[in-house]
């Protein structure tokens, strides 16, 4: 009994001690605090930046754009750099939560892909630089169904073999936007008639769906539980590694593109280092290293020589010429968000 008591107390003391010690302790000249998805930035790049600029880099993690927003609007301070998605950049700018760093004046800006400069959420790139670019589509197991997969009918009016074997992402926008595209209606739609039609379409289609699952979007396809599944393209490529018969679709009705961006947060304690980081990540060598790790697509030119071969040829990462262009969907007005919420709740009640 005595032994256990002592162990407990020691553990407590050590634990608290470490907790306190963890707060301080900076050896390098500068600091950079990055707020990012977990495992989205390779350690090698962190080390490289850290050594190159004598900066101690710390990384913290969030799981969704919304968590980032909630924390920033609540007033969380202390981070220099974050990696929000496209629509979230628009919101953060509107809410005045970002530092206008003018990346367009940085030396490495010359590497930017031209079509990503005048993007709707940050036209002219005054705040953000692209981190990774991707698309959200679905994959089909061609061993189960070998017909035409480049249509949203696979999701909303599936052939019999695919019925009951479809996984959707548990994300209101990914599901509703796909439905709107299938119906040929615009995004951020507040037309009541069209939304009623969408509501009916989803309710009918749900009968044929197996599940709504984002966390296991890859696993559900790989294990064969689902033969069709909405998925992000980089994920899709990894799924294909494990199940060769999976094929990524580029539906003719259109699809969503997304882009994570490096932004500097308002009041960043290490503003200069943050700017250096933005510039650093626009270097094609670094962007390529990131892309090799994260397996989506870089937003700068000149990465090809450094990319892994399978990335430059992967069907998932290279949009075919005959496919529509990816659509970056802006954040919808409040009224539309409420209507979408209602449809979503109704679908999943």
């Amino acid at each position: 009994m005595k032994l256990k008591w002592k162990t407990l107390m020691t553990a407590l003391t050590v634990g608290l001690g470490l907790a306190v010690a963890g707060g301080g302790g900076v050896q390098a000249a500068g600091e950079l605090k990055i707020y990012n998805w977990f495992d989205y930035l390779p350690q090698s790049l962190i080390d490289k930046f850290s050594e190159g600029h004598d900066v101690e880099v710390t990384m913290d993690t969030y799981d969704s754009n919304e968590t980032l927003l909630a924390r920033l609007t609540a007033g969380v301070k202390g981070y220099d750099v974050a990696v929000p998605g496209d629509y979230m950049v628009a919101i953060l700018i509107q809410e005045d939560l970002l530092e206008r760093t003018e990346p367009n004046t940085f030396p490495n800006f010359k590497n930017m892909k031209a079509d990503l400069i005048d993007i709707y959420f940050d036209s002219g790139r005054h705040y953000s630089i692209p981190y990774q670019v991707g698309t959200t589509n679905f994959m089909v197991d061609t061993a189960v169904y070998d017909g035409d997969i480049d249509t949203l009918a696979i999701l909303f009016d599936p052939p019999d073999v695919l019925k009951g074997k479809i996984n959707m992402l548990k994300d209101v926008n990914d599901v509703l936007n796909a439905g709107l595209r299938y119906l040929g209606y615009p995004r951020c739609n507040d037309n009541p008639e069209q939304l009623k039609e969408l509501n009916a379409l989803l309710a009918a289609a749900k009968e044929n769906w197996l599940s709504f699952n984002s966390d296991g979007a890859k696993e559900v396809l790989v294990t064969g539980d689902a033969a069709v599944g909405q998925i992000w393209n980089g994920f899709g490529m990894r799924a294909r590694d494990e199940r060769k018969s999976l094929k990524y679709s580029y539906p003719k009705e259109g699809f969503t593109g997304w882009m994570d961006n490096i932004v500097v947060l308002k009041g960043a304690p290490n503003l200069e280092n943050a700017k250096k980081f933005q510039n650093f990540m626009m270097d094609p060598v670094n962007a390529a290293e990131l892309t090799n790790f994260a397996q989506y697509t870089a937003g700068v030119m000149g990465t090809e020589p450094y990319l892994k071969k399978e990335l430059s040829t992967a069907h998932e990462l290279n949009i075919p010429d005959d496919a529509p262009k990816p659509e970056f969907v802006p954040p919808c007005p409040e009224k539309v968000v409420r209507l979408y919420d209602k449809i979503w709740t109704n679908l999943l009640k």
Binding site: S64, F212, V337, L339, T345
Partner: protein, 303 residues
């Protein structure tokens, strides 16, 4: 007992107040104070990108029962949220009962092991929980899927001829919830049975009670505090859980947890999220009151 009879509730002594203070203060400061925000939020107007606008509104509560028509904005009764709450409560109840059915015998078995083995059993029950729930649930899905190990084992054993569908069913949700919260049932019951005086069993046996009568009439009532504690610890988190329903059940239905989380994230309607939470709190509070009432009634009858 002479000393406990006929006493009326009185003031609390200084010593006991002192013992209660740290826990109460911690909860008051870091829980009740923050929760006041939630209560207030539920009567405000949602901000565009999350947060609230400081304008009084009961819209959040109205929205719970009524929806505005797509076309003419008239209020129409909607069962969407009621059915979400109904399903969540139903699933939580089933999960609690299932946990009790598995947890009680397990706790009993643990508590009747030789003394020096018991701590090991306590640890054994909690060891799996050192691994993140998400990973565990993904693995569970892997096990129960159509071509998974479970079906393979059952087939090999000749119990079934072809794979049965377990994953993506309501059964899987129940399994997931049971799996998620089983220790929360086992441990409190174990703590209660562990100090149970088994001479009482001998006494009851002596009085011509059968094994199962003893269980029902002697062991269960005496270990009731543990059972009640365990049931609460399973029921309440089950009510708010969504990982198991999403992954194992296919996530085709929203749970209360999803609903609330959605309001604070994608839908950015903090007042409605707060209102949904306040309603959930009220439900749990009612359940708690019923439990306390039952407990008191039992006590009175026991005299």
């Amino acid at each position: 007992m002479e000393k406990s009879s006929g006493r009326t509730a009185g003031g609390i002594g200084r010593g006991r107040a002192l013992l209660l203070t740290p826990a109460m203060l911690t909860i008051l400061v870091f829980m009740v104070a923050p929760l006041c925000f939630v209560g207030v939020y539920s009567f405000l107007t949602p901000g565009t990108y999350g947060g609230v606008v400081w304008e009084f509104s009961t819209e959040a509560y109205i929205q719970f029962l009524f929806e505005r028509d797509f076309l003419d904005e008239t209020l129409v009764f909607t069962s969407s949220y009621l059915s979400i709450y109904g399903r969540s409560i139903g699933q939580a109840l089933v999960a609690t009962l299932a946990c009790l059915a598995i947890g009680f015998p397990t706790a009993y078995f643990m508590a009747t092991r030789p003394e020096h083995q018991r701590n090991v059993w306590v640890f054994l029950v909690t060891v799996p929980y050192w691994v993140n729930l998400l990973i565990r649930t993904v693995s569970m899905l892997f096990i129960i899927r159509d071509e998974g190990p479970l079906n393979a084992v059952l087939q090999a054993a000749g119990i079934i001829d072809e794979p049965i569908r377990i994953a993506y069913t309501d059964f899987a949700i129940g399994l997931g919830l049971v799996y998620s919260y089983l220790p929360f049932m086992v441990l409190p019951i174990y703590a209660a049975i562990e100090r149970f005086d088994f001479r009482l069993v001998e006494a009851a046996y002596d009085l011509y009670a059968g094994r199962w009568t003893i269980l029902r009439k002697v062991i269960l009532p005496i270990t009731l505090p543990g059972i009640v504690a365990g049931s609460l610890l399973v029921f309440v988190p089950s009510l708010g859980s969504f990982i198991a329903p999403d992954l194992l059940g296919g996530g085709k239905h929203l749970m209360i947890g999803n609903l609330v989380a959605l309001q604070f994230q994608g839908s950015r309607n903090w007042p409605f999220g707060s209102a949904a939470a306040v309603i959930l709190m009220t439900l749990v509070l009612i359940a708690l009151m019923v439990l306390i009432w039952l407990k008191n009634r039992n006590r009175v009858e026991g005299r």
